[in-house]
């Protein structure tokens, strides 16, 4: 079925739909990962966004039940160059197209995704609409313009879990995870590092957390504008200094805000699996998985007992911070990978070490 993609600046791309039909509007961003489309589709951080995969051949290895990053797909639409005509992998359970249809996610293929990516890179992330219903281009552009965008938008409340649940019950360290849109691989990594994991909805108060008596708290990744997630920011404020805290992605932004810093929106964000990050202490570099449109302003954190621990080597943006005295650290990238390189997975071990020391 023919489909159209319209950007708020009036640019139109023509393609063919796959997955579900219909219409979706969202902020459009691009991801440069060459593998991991299933993880990307099911990453709650993509709520409110449609993703352009820069790698042109998608769907090659199908979809399986082990590699999902949450209970369901959260992105609004997937924009690609070519959908594979076959899925080939011993773990594949269904085709990407079937999976998207089943979960009512729109896909559009046949797009010159490189042209689109270059457009986004120069003009910045913008609002867009994909439609199989409406072929009136003026209309589509209007719809793109009227879609909400991300700035000032709290999407965390839409993706967080309804009620607390146990991920794993065994482990030396008891970790409470505040679910702002947590990826399963964060939970898998905690579990693999000897942690029993309980996941809490984002609106859980610090008192409720304390009642659980955890050894540490992880503030998860998630979608939207961090500055709007006021309840979690407040929670984090009262956790700091009382329990070891580890923030990932949106978690870092929330911690940054809780520490009195500011966040800002990047032109088109970092979405991919090849971003170099330097650990300032060890001077070692990691290739990291990244997915964020907002970032903590380094300068806004000065004089707050904060050490900058990680820096992005591509654009010198803040990638990690730690409190000078208190057991608190966070990173902007995704040490849990899924998808992407696992170079920084050691940070989970570091978190358990921190929890161990704070007991002693």
């Amino acid at each position: 079925m023919k489909a159209k993609l319209a950007l708020e600046d009036g640019t139109i791309f023509h393609g063919y739909s796959f997955g579900a039909a219909g219409e979706a509007s969202a902020e459009i961003i691009f991801n440069t990962s060459m593998t991991g489309y299933q993880e990307i589709i099911t990453d709650p951080s993509y709520a409110g966004q449609m993703v352009v995969m820069t790698y042109p051949l998608i769907g090659n290895y199908g979809v399986n039940s082990e590699d999902k990053e949450s209970r369901k797909p959260f992105l609004e639409a997937l924009v690609i160059r070519e959908l594979s005509c076959v899925e080939s992998n011993w773990r594949s359970e269904m085709s990407l197209s079937e999976y998207m249809l089943k979960n009512n996610v729109l896909g559009i293929q046949g797009i010159d995704t490189r042209a689109l990516t270059r457009h986004i890179r120069t003009k910045g992330a913008m609002r867009a609409v994909v439609s199989t219903d409406d072929s009136d281009e003026t209309n589509l552009v209007k719809k793109a313009k009227s879609s909400p965008g991300l700035l000032g938008r709290n999407l965390v409340k839409d993706v967080t879990c309804d009620k607390p649940y146990n991920w794993s019950k065994k482990g030396r360290f008891k970790v409470a995870v505040i679910d702002c849109g947590v990826k399963y691989n964060i939970l898998r990594n905690l579990e693999a590092n000897n942690c029993s994991v309980k996941v809490f909805p984002c609106h859980t108060s610090s008192e409720e957390i304390f009642l659980e008596n955890p050894d540490g708290v992880l503030i998860s990744n998630g979608p939207g504008d961090p500055a709007t997630v006021l309840d979690v920011i407040d929670t984090v404020k009262s956790l700091i200094g009382k329990l070891p805290v580890f923030g990932i992605c949106l978690g870092q932004q929330i911690i940054g805000l809780a520490l009195g810093g500011k966040t800002y929106k990047l032109k088109f964000g970092h979405h991919g699996g090849n971003h170099p990050v330097k650990d300032i202490v060890s001077e070692k570099c990691y290739i990291t998985s990244q997915n964020h449109g907002f970032c903590v302003d380094i300068d806004s954190l000065c004089g707050n007992d904060i050490d900058i621990t990680h820096i992005n080597l591509n654009d010198d943006t803040l990638e990690g911070l730690a409190h000078k005295r208190l057991p608190l650290f966070s990173v902007q990238f995704h040490p849990e990978a899924g998808p992407g390189p696992r170079d920084a997975q050691g940070l989970f071990r570091y978190f358990t070490k921190m929890m161990g020391e704070s007991h002693a």
């Binding site: 791309f13 593998t35 042109p56 011993w90 042209a115 699996g273 570099c285 290739i287 696992r342």
Partner: protein, 1078 residues
């Protein structure tokens, strides 16, 4: 970390001649490394015996030794140059093995030379399969079940414990030589036996066969701070069982989910750490069981490789350049990415296209060998294609291969192929399997069946199926095509020619229809980052999309057409010329545009030209670029036959060809016009004629007299060229030859037996012609000039003959209005000069002459083509030299069992080396040493010659005997020696006793074989001897002239004058000769 200050002079070892398994990729890597190190202020000393390399250009290193890459010679260079460090990881397996031997001999310790990148223990850990296996097990990685054997007894025991089928891999060899897959006990014993012989340490690994598993490679880089990045993943289309070099491969990996890819990535990082490669690149191969994902490690190369060159071209990430910088202490985060400028090299390239590499085979050159593929590499070159989809890249790649396909098209009618043959061709990996997949699909075979027969991943088969189905859906008539169909076809990679074939039209009609409909290609950038950052390096590929990124400038610009994939007859020499044109035009301030499809080359390095188009060299693809770029001139005379074949069509389409005109090229290549040309200039050529039928051919042959030299028109490398001695053979040849027509008849020349052949390279600007060099062939006429050794300056020709040759050259250049290069082949017999062939283009010998004379011919030629006069360039006189340079060719016979090694008019060599010294003897000796067949300094020589040569061989045998060699001869030859009182030992020929020649060869009791085969066919048992000699790495000389030269060389070396000197030394000396300024 800052660069190291404790070293200032670094020795780099090159990889020597182009052979199967080691081609121009090491020139590409080495050149990058030399440049990178010089940029950092280090003094670079280089050794490489291959004159056709850019790296041996005098300005690339500070001291360049075009000397044999052997431990003995490298030791001499170290003694002379006293480098502080040696970088062993850039010269392929040759470089690595040589450095290990030099280190083991204690030379590095003696002169306090540090090893950079990887030291001996690391190299051994990676290369020694036993140690490697243990290391892998220590980090929890699996390898296929395996055992080592050093003797046949051990091999037998290993087989008992593993069970058939098994793979046999010899340790320390090149490109899997001597290995193989054994399905039966008999096969096992054969392969194990050859394997033990070809291993430098008599060791083979007998391995559980994992044939049919998916095969992957990862290119890894590490710096001193232990930062590791993966540059590229590569997936083989052919499953395990076919050597990676012979597989069609794709980048990035297509059928791995992120989790599986990351497992492989993690394993690679663990491996490079475990093996301990301190800095630089490594290539690690994995296999995955398609049924359950079980992953095993196959091997690791702790050095840059063919795959790393491919990965560099596929991603834009210059592995060798960075490896050099890392070797001297920089870390990945300190090096900037040239392409994006603002981001560091510490990242992993993101690809937003599909890259495919297709090997180029030359089985047609070795009709006795089967075109089957296995774990020993057979291909001689490769092409790379970039597209936005696999389908597009595959079809571009297939037409870039230049084997007469314009995509995944049909050479055969699938209806005519019996099912049995079809299945056989699918099952046994072979050079044309990809086409048989198509035939099978066309014949209605189900994809599942093809997948199960071939073991190829369903993803690839289904993509191919889409191409086949699309082709089937094309309308039958051109007027039914519309914009949508055309665009879809182009996005599936179909060429205009393919579409034309489907709709019964022609290429130009489809082209104009397509342009009318606005279906034109766009050019995208290879930028390492999938457009995330702005890219500054203009490296383009074509596709059909909505945005064109190519930004042609307004400055004066010249487009250079490269030579495409390496093949026998067209290789690195032509790439060398293309690169030089680019360098020269840059010096003149002219923008350069390079078009080529060979990933191994320097020409496809993104900083060689101002703009690089990585595209197939077909009319359609080149024309598309020409229309976008609108170059002021296009150079077709430097890339070999490939661009030359396009010249006429391009000119007809209005493309400005510069240099010698297309009409002149035609005048030299068309036999009739050529004959008239020779006549008009009052020159001589051997009597000749051209024929399209057996009758015609017979008539001509009778007129001019046998023997005759026959060949099809317009060929390079003497394809199908033969010397024919009788009418019967002539009719067999005429009946077998394909593609003969009035336009392309068979050419028949009188063959001048016993003549001396001479090659001349010259350069002309219409007003002046300057001779670059006159080369005298060592083998007599009849051996293809590409296979013959030659010496510069001539060593037996009289001054009169040389004068006559020069006179002819000037006359021909003037008459043909040559602008640029011209190569002429002469034969000299009985004090008469015959013109055999005139090629108004760059020849294979241009780099050799340039290096030997210290005169960059291709550069000068490019400047002349751009309008400069030789006088302006200061080139007014021929250069004279006082040294001698010998070019020797390197032959691939050891790869093709069952093939006789006799040289003839069809070219068979893959590469060349140069020996340079003060005397002919030493220069020749060095050339043999460099070519890998070192002449013995003592021991036994086996002599067996044809009757005609028996008189002349006496002097040679006497000389050898006087020098202390034992002479062994077969009966006939022995009789002649005895009657001339030469001490000899007689051996029987094959099969009658323990002293049998073959046995002596296998036991390596013979150090040199001199065997001249008689008549049209060599004696058959002697052909076994020659093969055995080659397989056992014993030099085998098949011509009397070669034997004379060898004796000469041995004599000089025994006098103790084997010494080394840099090219810069020779050039300076030639300059002091004062003949040329500039």
């Amino acid at each position: 970390m800052p660069k190291r200050n404790d070293i200032s002079k670094i020795l780099i070892i090159g990889s020597g001649p182009i052979i199967i398994g080691q081609a121009c990729e090491f020139d590409y890597s080495g050149t990058q490394a030399c440049k990178a190190l010089k940029e950092e202020g280090y003094k670079v000393v280089l050794v490489n015996s291959n004159p056709a390399t850019i790296m041996t250009d005098p300005e690339i290193a500070d001291a360049t030794y075009i000397e044999p890459i052997t431990p003995e010679i490298v030791a001499k260079i170290i003694e002379k140059e006293r480098p502080d460090a040696i970088l062993p990881t850039l010269g392929g397996q040759t470089g690595l093995n040589t450095v290990i031997k030099v280190a083991d001999a204690g030379i590095l310790d003696k002169y306090k030379v540090k090893m950079l990148g990887a030291d001996c223990s690391v190299i051994k850990k990676a290369e020694d399969r036993k140690v490697f296996k243990e290391s892998m097990q220590e980090i929890g990685l699996d390898l296929p079940k395996s055992r080592f054997a050093h003797t046949m007894e051990e091999a037998r025991a290993a087989l008992d414990s593993i069970g058939l089928p098994v793979i046999i891999r010899p340790s320390f060899t090149l490109g899997g030589t001597g290995g193989g897959v054994a399905g039966t006990a008999e096969e096992f014993y054969n392969i194990a036996n050859t394997g033990l012989k070809s291993s430098m340490i008599s060791e083979i690994l007998i391995e559980e066969s994992i044939i049919g598993w998916k095969e992957y490679e990862l290119e890894v880089m590490r710096d001193v701070k232990d930062n590791v990045v993966i540059v590229c993943s590569i997936e083989n289309v052919d499953p395990m069982g076919v050597h990676t070099g012979d597989s069609i491969t794709v980048a990035p990996a297509q059928t791995l989910s992120d989790r599986e890819y990351q497992n492989m990535r993690d394993a690679s990082i663990a491996i490079i750490r475990k093996i301990g490669v301190e800095t630089g690149g490594s290539n690690i191969q994995f296999a995955i069981n398609p049924k359950d994902g079980c992953m095993v490690v196959i091997e690791m190369n702790p050095r840059v490789s063919r795959s790393s060159a491919l990965a560099s071209k596929a991603t834009g990430f210059p592995i060798a350049k960075f490896a050099a910088k890392l070797a001297v202490g920089y870390t990945l985060d300190e090096i900037s990415n040239d392409i994006t400028r603002e981001t560091p090299a510490c990242f992993e390239p993101a690809i937003d296209y599909c890259v495919i590499k297709i090997p180029r085979f030359t089985f047609e050159k070795f009709p006795e060998a089967k075109d089957l593929l296995g774990i020993s590499m057979k291909s001689v070159g490769e092409t790379m294609a970039i597209g936005r989809t696999f389908k597009e890249a595959l079809q571009k790649g297939l037409r870039g291969l230049e084997i007469g396909h314009s995509g995944l098209d049909n050479k055969l009618d699938y209806n005519t192929i019996p099912q049995i043959k079809l299945k056989k061709r699918l099952k046994e990996p072979n050079a044309s399997r990809i086409f048989y997949i198509k035939y099978a699909l066309q014949s209605g075979m189900r994809a599942d069946e093809i997948i199960s027969i071939t073991g190829i991943d369903p993803w690839f088969i289904h993509n191919i199926k889409q191409i086949v189905e699309f082709e089937k859906s094309l309308p039958k008539k051109a007027d039914m095509l519309n914009k949508d169909i055309l665009l879809d076809a182009k996005q599936y990679g179909f060429s205009d020619k393919q579409i034309a074939a489907a709709v019964s039209s022609d290429e130009l009609t489809i082209r104009s229809m397509r342009k009318q409909e606005g279906v034109e290609p766009v050019y995208k950038l290879v930028d390492t980052c999938a457009a995330e950052f702005e890219a500054y390096t203009p490296y383009y590929y074509s596709t059909y999309g909505t945005e064109n990124e190519s930004r042609p400038g307004k400055a004066k610009k010249i487009m250079i057409l490269g030579g495409g994939p390496n093949r026998i007859g067209q290789g690195i020499e032509f790439d060398y010329c293309c690169c030089h044109a680019s360098f020269a035009l840059k010096e003149l301030g002219i923008e350069t545009i390079m078009v080529n499809s060979n990933p191994e080359t320097v020409s496809t390095d993104y900083d060689t030209s101002d703009r690089l188009y990585f595209e197939p060299l077909t009319f359609e693809d080149v024309m598309n670029i020409a229309e976008i770029e609108k170059p002021d001139g296009v150079i077709v005379q430097l890339g070999g036959q490939t661009p030359l074949n396009l010249a006429r069509h391009l000119e007809a389409a209005g493309v400005p060809i510069i240099g010698t005109s297309v009409a002149s090229i035609d005048r030299a290549e068309n036999r009739d016009k050529f004959a008239r040309l020779i006549e008009s200039l009052n020159l001589s050529q051997p009597p000749n004629g051209s024929a399209v039928s057996v009758e015609e051919a017979g008539k001509i042959a009778r007129r001019i007299g046998y023997p005759v030299l026959v060949r099809p028109s317009y060929v390079l490398g003497g394809r199908s060229m033969k010397i024919i001695y009788d009418e019967n053979s002539l009719s067999i040849f005429m009946n077998d030859i394909k593609g003969v027509s009035e336009d392309t008849p068979v050419l028949i020349d009188k063959f001048l037996e016993g003549a001396v052949e001479v090659d001349v390279d010259a350069i002309s600007d219409l007003d002046t012609t300057i001779i670059g060099g006159v080369m005298e062939h060592i083998e007599e006429a009849g051996v293809h000039s590409g296979d013959s050794a030659c010496v510069l300056p001539p060593h037996t020709l009289s001054d009169n003959m040389i004068m006559e040759i020069k006179r002819c050259t000037h006359a021909l250049a003037r008459e043909l209005k040559v602008i640029g290069l011209i190569n002429i082949q002469f034969a000299v017999r009985d004090n008469r000069v015959f013109v055999l062939e005139v090629n108004p283009r760059a020849s294979r010998t241009v780099p050799f002459v340039s290096k030997a004379m210290g005169l960059p011919l291709a550069k000068i030629a490019a400047k002349v083509m751009a309008g400069k006069k030789l006088e302006e360039l200061g080139i007014t006189k021929e250069r004279a030299i006082t040294h001698i340079a010998v070019k020797e060719s390197v032959l691939p016979f050891s790869r093709f069992s069952g093939v006789d090694i006799i040289l003839g008019p069809e070219m068979k060599s893959t590469g060349e080396v140069m020996g340079i010294d003060k005397t002919f003897g030493i220069a020749f000796y060095k050339s043999q040493m460099a070519a890998g067949s070192s002449l013995p300094r003592c021991g036994s020589v086996l002599i067996s010659v044809k009757d005609n040569d028996k008189r002349d061989i006496i002097f040679i045998a006497k000389k050898l005997s006087d020098m202390g060699f034992d002479i062994i001869a077969t009966k006939g030859t022995a009789k002649v020696f005895r009657s001339n009182s030469i001490d000899i030992k007689v051996v029987s020929k094959i099969g009658d006793g323990s002293d049998d020649i073959l046995e002596l060869i296998k036991l390596r009791k013979i150090g040199l074989v001199i065997n001249t085969p008689s008549g049209a066919r060599g004696q058959s048992d002697m052909s076994f001897i020659r093969q055995a000699a080659i397989m056992n790495n014993i030099p085998c000389i098949t011509t009397l002239q070669g034997a004379q030269a060898a004796v000469n060389g041995i004599e000089s070396v025994l006098k103790g004058c084997l010494d080394v000197r840099s090219v810069q030394y020779y050039i300076q000396k030639a300059r002091k000769g004062g003949n040329v300024s500039g």
